[in-house]
């Protein structure tokens, strides 16, 4: 299967690059510290603002959202692609660049999984939340599905950032701010006006996070699986859009002349 090989090769390049993004030390002192402070901050705000329930709600939301945020960093991979001049070469190869990008930034999902797991462990140790044990058991598959969903969503933003290179940081920040704000991290989705709440149904993170919350509250497993299934559907939708978007930016680039050998 060519599809598998393309995604595999693309992921391979990503993982090779990832080894140079962080050393264990810079990861711990930089990225991890930032994440933990964020989680602790929201946890404390939750504690001060209300009861233990609120605090635990916010803590769970943030610990899960970590992987979604990190997965959208595929946008920075696209910037690197452009910087090193491989972007136009991918466009004119006989393979859809969207397919390449279904694999090209997968290392961010794995990194996000690590971050999320670490934050979970810390939250458990520091705040002793009253979560059902099932969270610990089913966290891994849930987080993987959430991570992949956020990743393909990020891949589309990566396509957009290749097109509007000047705004790549805007796309990155906008990308994860939308997820963090509307998809149920700190406040329930029902808090938002109906149209926004409705829109979050097709955003990654929403259903996966609901699944995790159902697990924590010892809700029925069938609900959890239903929510996860929805999260998978959302991911599939964004994956299909990724293929389309990369085709689109390629043909737009061909039309306006922004693809060149040197950039």
């Amino acid at each position: 299967m060519m599809v598998k090989q393309v995604i595999g090769q693309a992921a391979f390049v990503g993982f090779a690059e990832f080894k140079h993004v962080y050393t264990p030390k810079t990861w711990l002192t930089g990225w991890m510290l930032r994440l933990v402070s964020q989680v602790v901050f929201f946890g404390l705000v939750g504690k001060m603002a209300g009861d233990r329930i609120t605090a635990e709600y916010v803590l769970l939301g943030n610990a899960v959202t970590v992987i979604a945020i990190e997965a959208t960093l595929v946008i920075t991979t696209a910037s690197l692609e452009r910087y090193q001049g491989t972007y136009p070469m991918l466009v004119v190869s006989p393979t859809n660049m969207g397919l390449v990008y279904l694999g090209r930034g997968l290392h961010w999902v794995l990194a996000g999984l690590g971050s999320s797991a670490l934050v979970f462990a810390l939250v458990w140790a520091l705040f002793r939340p009253d979560w059902n044990w099932r969270v610990a058991v089913f966290a891994l598959p849930c987080l993987i599905v959430i991570g992949l969903g956020a990743y393909v969503y990020g891949a589309i933003l990566a396509a957009c950032s290749l097109r509007h290179y000047k705004f790549r940081w805007v796309y990155l920040n906008f990308g994860f701010m939308v997820l963090m704000t509307f998809c149920g991290t700190n406040v329930p989705r029902s808090f938002w006006p109906a149209p926004i709440e409705w829109a979050t149904q097709v955003l990654p993170l929403s259903h996966g996070l609901t699944a995790m919350r159902t697990l924590a509250a010892a809700g029925p497993l069938s609900d959890v699986l239903g929510q996860l299934g929805l999260e998978v559907c959302v991911a599939a939708l964004w994956a299909a859009l990724t293929l389309l978007f990369f085709e689109r930016i390629a043909s737009k680039g061909r039309r306006d002349g922004s693809l060149n050998f040197t950039s």
Binding site: V6, A10, A16, D256, F261
Partner: protein
């Protein structure tokens, strides 16, 4: 293999760039750049074709269109029998692209891994990938560094890897855009040998350059390009005939011989005498090939023995048509 008819490309500058252009001149024309203007070109299978011209002539634009990186705004181009606009995918499977400079590679992985990556992108059969990568690495002289990350490679090594990358899909048509830009002379010589090999394999090659000796060494035919138009397309070996059908005589006069100059110019067999850049050197254009022996005899009798005969070179044709802009010899 390459059929280009009426091909044109106009760039429209947008936003701030266009505003700036409008400030410096009131017409709307200022925000439009005609990079390619109705180009016609036909390159048969197996030919190595050179596209020569100064910077900004439109060489890269032509290659970008033919390699499906850019859409034309007018005209049509077929590569390997497929239209670059409507059948880009078919074209992409049949071409290889190499451009000068050291960009365009994944630096964190090895040379071999780069080739395997691109082989996958070019849908090379999995059973062939390994062997072909190894063959190409040997061919471009990178076999002993094949398993090192590209980030440690010199510019020349990266360029060789580029060439291997361009060949990974076993392309019928190869586009080389200023491939030797920045290469040292030794690397350039190796590169030329390799292009000869590729030609012997029957591949069609389109190479852009502003290096005359490169074009002369490699190309069956050349097209001279300037301001987005092809000025002339001729076989490299006989392009000099455009200026003169027969040999001219270059002579160098000693200082005491300079009075002979007017006498020489007055000979009935001599059409005209041009000064060359070296002091005391002149080029004698005779009226016909038959006139040459007579003039040579006259020169020797007059004691002028620093002389040389020859056809007009590609370089002279270039200077004649384009001028001295962007010339490297």
């Amino acid at each position: 293999m390459i059929e280009v008819t009426g091909l044109g490309r106009v760039f429209v500058k947008k936003g701030r760039q266009a505003k700036r252009a409008k400030q410096s001149g009131p017409t709307a024309q200022d925000s439009r750049v005609v990079a390619l203007d109705s180009v016609n070109l036909s390159v048969p299978e197996g030919e190595t074709h050179g596209v020569l011209g100064p910077n900004g002539a439109g060489k890269t634009t032509l290659v970008r269109i033919l390699s499906t990186m850019l859409l034309p705004t007018s005209g049509r181009a077929l590569v390997a029998g497929h239209d670059v606009t409507t059948e880009a995918d078919q074209v992409r499977r049949r071409i290889g692209i190499v451009f000068g400079g050291d960009n365009g590679l994944y630096t964190r992985i090895t040379a071999r891994q780069n080739l395997v990556f691109w082989a996958t992108m070019y849908r090379v059969d999995a059973s062939v990938v390994k062997r072909r990568s190894q063959e190409l690495l040997e061919r471009v002289g990178l076999a002993d560094r094949a398993d090192e990350p590209v980030e440690g490679f010199s510019r020349g090594m990266r360029q060789r890897l580029h060439l291997a990358r361009g060949l990974i899909g076993d392309p019928a048509v190869l586009f080389l855009d200023e491939p030797t830009m920045g290469m040292d002379p030794l690397a350039t010589r190796d590169f030329r040998d390799l292009v000869h090999e590729l030609k012997a394999e029957g591949r069609t090659i389109l190479i852009t350059t502003h290096d005359m000796s490169e074009a002369e060494a490699l190309c069956d035919r050349v097209s001279l390009v300037d301001h987005g138009s092809i000025l002339v397309t001729e076989p490299t070996a006989t392009i000099g005939r455009m200026l003169s059908g027969h040999d001219r005589i270059d002579v160098t006069l000693r200082e005491d011989q300079s009075p002979l100059l007017s006498e020489l110019a007055g000979l009935p067999q001599v059409e005209r005498v041009d000064k060359l850049s070296e002091p005391g050197s002149v080029r004698i254009h005779t009226v016909s090939a038959d006139a040459n022996p007579v003039v040579l005899r006259w020169l020797l009798d007059a004691g002028i023995d620093a002389l040389r005969t020859g056809r007009p070179t590609l370089e002279e044709v270039y200077v004649h048509l384009v001028g001295n802009r962007g010339l490297t010899v």
